[in-house]
Structures are given as C-alpha cells and as structure tokens.
Amino acid sequence: MKLHEYQAKEVFARYGIPVQRGVVISRPDEVDRLDLRYPVVVKAQVLVGGRGKAGGIKLAANPGEARRHAQAILGMSIKGERVTRLLVAEAAKIEKEYYLAFTLDRAARRMVAIASAAGGIDIEEVARATPERIAKHSVDPSLGFLPFHARELGAAIGLRGDHLTAFAALAASLYRLTVQEEAELAEINPLAVADGKLVAVDAKLILDDSAAFRHKDRPTNEEMTDLERAAREAGLSYVELDGDLAVIGNGAGLVMSTLDVVAHFGGRPANFLDVGGGATTENMTAAMEIVLRKPGVRALFINIFGGITRCDDIARAIAARPPRVPVAVRLTGTNEEEGRRILEGAAIHAFIGPEEAAQEAVRLARGARS
C-alpha cells in the first residue's frame, strides 16, 4: 500500500526524521487560516508519480498566490487521479539535494540502503546514466543497519562534518521505520540541505500489505478502486483494466496469461479477477458479480483450470445466475464432465482449450459492440 506524501511525512516525523512544517487542506479558502511562514509550496496529494511535471506543485510567496494555486490544483486530474487534497508546506531554501531510501532487493532477498548525491531527480535515471553516483549497502537482517553502516554510506556520497553525523542519525531512523512499520520502500527524494540542516522535502512510503494484520493503525488504502476494494473484501484479487472483455480465472499466473492470450487474438480485457486456488461456488458467484459491475463490459471470459478448484462448483455458480452479457467458458480439470453437463443444462457451451475459448470471447465482445 502506497501512502500519500503527507501521510508518509506524518510517519517520518514520528521517527524523528525532520520534515518541513505543513498542513493538508481540501478547499482553497482554508489557505487563509494557515499559520505558516511564506513562501510556501502547494503540492497535489496524489499517488501517481510525475505530479511536478503535470503542474501539481507550485511555489507561493503570499496567501493570495497560495489560494490561487490551490484553486487551480484542486480538482485537477493527474494521470487519471483527481486531486482532492493539497499539502501546503513551508518552502525550504535548498542548498543541496541528496537521495536516501531503503527498499527491497528481491534478488538478494534483503533490504538495501541506497544513497546518492544526485538527489531531486529520478533515481532510476541516475542509476542508468551515472551508476558511480549511487552508493548501496545490503542489510544483513541478523545484524541490522548499524551506525557505522550509516556513516560509510554517508561518506560514500561525499558527506562530511555535521552533515555526515546528521545523515547517519537520519538513516538509522529511516531503517528503524522501515522495519517497524514493515515498509517495502521508504524513500526521501530529495533529502535536502536547507538552512544548513537536513530535511525530507518529499517522502514516499510503500507498506507491505501482507503485514497489515500487525498494524491496525494504518490509514485506508486509497490506491484501490471501489471494485478492487470490494474484491479484496470478498477475498478475491482484482485489477481494473481499460477494455470491454471481463476476465475471470483461477490462479494469478493463469489469469495473467489469459489476458495475454485475449490480447493476442485482438481482444481488450476490462479487468482481471483471480478467484484463487480452491475456489467455491460462492467465490465464483461473487467474482462474476464484481467483474460485471464495471461499466462498459460487453462480454465475459471465464478460464478455469480445475486443480484443487472443482469444475462442477464453478459451473453451478455460472448456471445458477447466468451473466447479463455473452459468456465464453473454458473449463477443464477436476470434475470436468460434471461441470460441462451442468453448463449444458443452462445452454452454455464449455470449451476445453484456452485458445479457442479466448477467440470465442473476443468474438463475443466484438459482436456485442456492433
């Protein structure tokens, strides 16, 4: 789960990491009541990247200017995400920008600390163009991130004197945050030197969803659409896409491959729903209800390979409530004959091969379009 900048900064502040003073607002007139030192930065709170380039971050010298920026940015759409909140923060006189993050290194199966003196820009770009400007430390989980690791990392990006000491303390706090909050990414970009001190000008925090059961105090996940949230509550995995053919399958890899097969035959998936291994009639009923709630769906493709999942359970759900749009079903594996018989009773043909079923699904979506 990705947090908004202002939420991430609240967490950072709890761990003693210096952030600029700022307030979150959702109406332009709230600017008048803010007790902040001008100039301020008005920043759109969205989860997508690239908000600066999209005009979602503006500097204001006085309250009048801040109000005008707030008016312009609130309601703006950035990469499809509507801006409903702004962070108004005291602007820092930035002397130098660094980068610091803890992130998961999947290949090493460890967390890694990444630092650079080339802060304030896309770190992937820095890594590509000037890899020598990036310093890393792979964290041995049995040792943790020790103070000397932090000093070595700071020294490697050219920090000296008070800045080095401050950086080491800040990096130690960020690691403590990463572990205690169970983050997959805790990133400060830029980590600025302003008025001679280090301050987190931006903050990015992605928390591990699997650890949510240990962190009851986390904010609501705003990354998901309403349908994605409804699916999660039903124990199903759902992703919204932008086509017109709804897709249900069992198992993440199989559904991903189903999307590819549909695209291969010229179709456009509307969504992705994984009913999971061992899906029951109830899971399947909920799955069909969710994928068809999406506006603009013209046909449904159900691709089930029955392993632990039983084909007859799936067929019962489809036959009990035939979908409101044309459906192509691929059903094979455990209890396949029984499943096929149930579907035939509801006048629905079940394919055995995934590719012929995908072609039929694409044809159905096209037919419904004309």
Binding site: E184, F213, R214, G251, G253, G277, G307
Partner: protein, 290 residues
Amino acid sequence: MPILIDERTRVLVQGITGYQAEFHTQRMLEFGAKVVAGTRPGKGGTAVHAVPVFDTVAEAVAQTGATASCLFVPAAAAKDAAMEAIAHRLDPVVIITEHLPVHDAVAVMAYARAQGVRVIGPNCPGLTSPGRCKMGIMPNHLFRQGPVGVVSRSGTLTYEIVAALTRASIGQSTAVGLGGDPVVGMSFEDALALFGQDPQTEAVVLIGEIGGSAEEAAARHIAAGFPKPVVAYIAGRTAPPGKRMGHAGAVISGSEGTAASKIEALTAAGAAVADLPGQVAGLVQARLRA
C-alpha cells in the same frame, strides 16, 4: 533421478491439523509420498490420516526421522514455523503459506542460508517428482514420470502446461513451484543448476511472469553454458505497470520487471520462448527429438 525430493524423502507437514493441510496430506499419501509426521503445537499425540502429530519439530524428527518439511501454517505463525524447521535442518523447507510478510520472508531466507537449508516458496504450490514424492498441493492426476524438469513462479499455469505435456506423452522429472511473492527462497538459477546435473532431466520448461529480475538472472545462467534445452513462457505481456497482478511479486516497478525484458533476455540466451502457453508442449517435443 528427480531433483530435491525422491522416494527417500520423509515428509513432515507443519500445521497438519488445518483444513487445507489435512486435505493435501491425504493427496500426498495417495501420490505415494512418505508423509511420516505432522506438527501442531498443543495437538501432540493425535493423528491425521494415521500420520502421528507432534507438538514440536524436534520431537517429530527424533521419532520419525523426517527429512523435509511442508508448511501449511497461517501467515501470522509461518515465520516461526519455518525457523523451527530450518533450525532442525530439514531440507527442503516448502512454504505453501500465502501472504507471509516480506520482512518475515527476509529473515527466514537469511537463516536458511546460514543453516545451509533450501527453502521453496512462500506462496507456492510445492514440488512434485512423479512416481516418487510430492510435497505441496499440485493435483496428482496431471503428472507422469519422464524427462522434463518444470520450474515456475505460478501454480495454475504450471498445471496447465504440465497437463499439456502429459497429454503429449511427455513426462516430468520434477516440477518445482517457486512461489509468487517478491521474496522467495529457491530461484530459477538454483533449480536450473539442479536440473542441469540431473541425469533424468533432458529438457527444462521455465514459466516466469512479470516483476523482479529472476528470469533475467536465469537467462544469464543459461547463457553461461546450461547443458540442456530450455523452453520458456512468460505471463503478463499486457499487464499495466504499477499494478500487482494477483501475486504480490507480479508487479512492474519503474522500468524493472517487464515481460519484454525477460523474453528478450531468455531468447538471447538461446531458450525457446512460447507466445502462448499452448505452444510449450510442442516446443519441448521438438527439442527432445533433436
């Protein structure tokens, strides 16, 4: 010979009294796996399908000579259970459990490395050596014994492709499900290294998906002189960036983890990459004949 598990493997099932574990213990026994013990703290002295249940792994190992462990323990208790199995050097330790927190997985993998234990999973279907042993949840009836090693990040897609192989009368040496999480124990390279040395295995099917760079690492391993033909399939060519596609690890972050990058790397390494899952069996057949 299969890899990792065979007829000598004595399987412990941790969390054996749970609904899924009980169901799959029965299936493993039917497959011919030697499930010799189960654990469930507080239920020691009972039995599941005539398999004795112990309170601790230590007792299970001492009394039954268990050599490997399969975990069906819920996520909140899975780290502890995995550490217990690793402490007693059961090998492999197969973690079926879904939604294991990432920092728990990091700790488990570090301890496993220190103890010299191979971990498979989490969030995986386990592994199957037809005719010899099965640990996990892969459906029994799909398999037949034969020359093809299968290694995959996806469960059902593995079943799909194994079923197609079996229909084409191509059997399998071992099928290994690595798991769909961002942090898993065994990697494609680890599995390839074992298949490379296994006399029964004549070709390998590698099933990857978007997210991370495990397939690119596998491609480097293949390019460095892997001695057997590899047929690959990568799911997620049309997946949008930034979305987790069902598996926690199946996500394109920034420019890393795209299907295109994986397909390019594998093709350049000399693997045959199928466009559709239905083409895999045919590509394998052609390479077995060659």
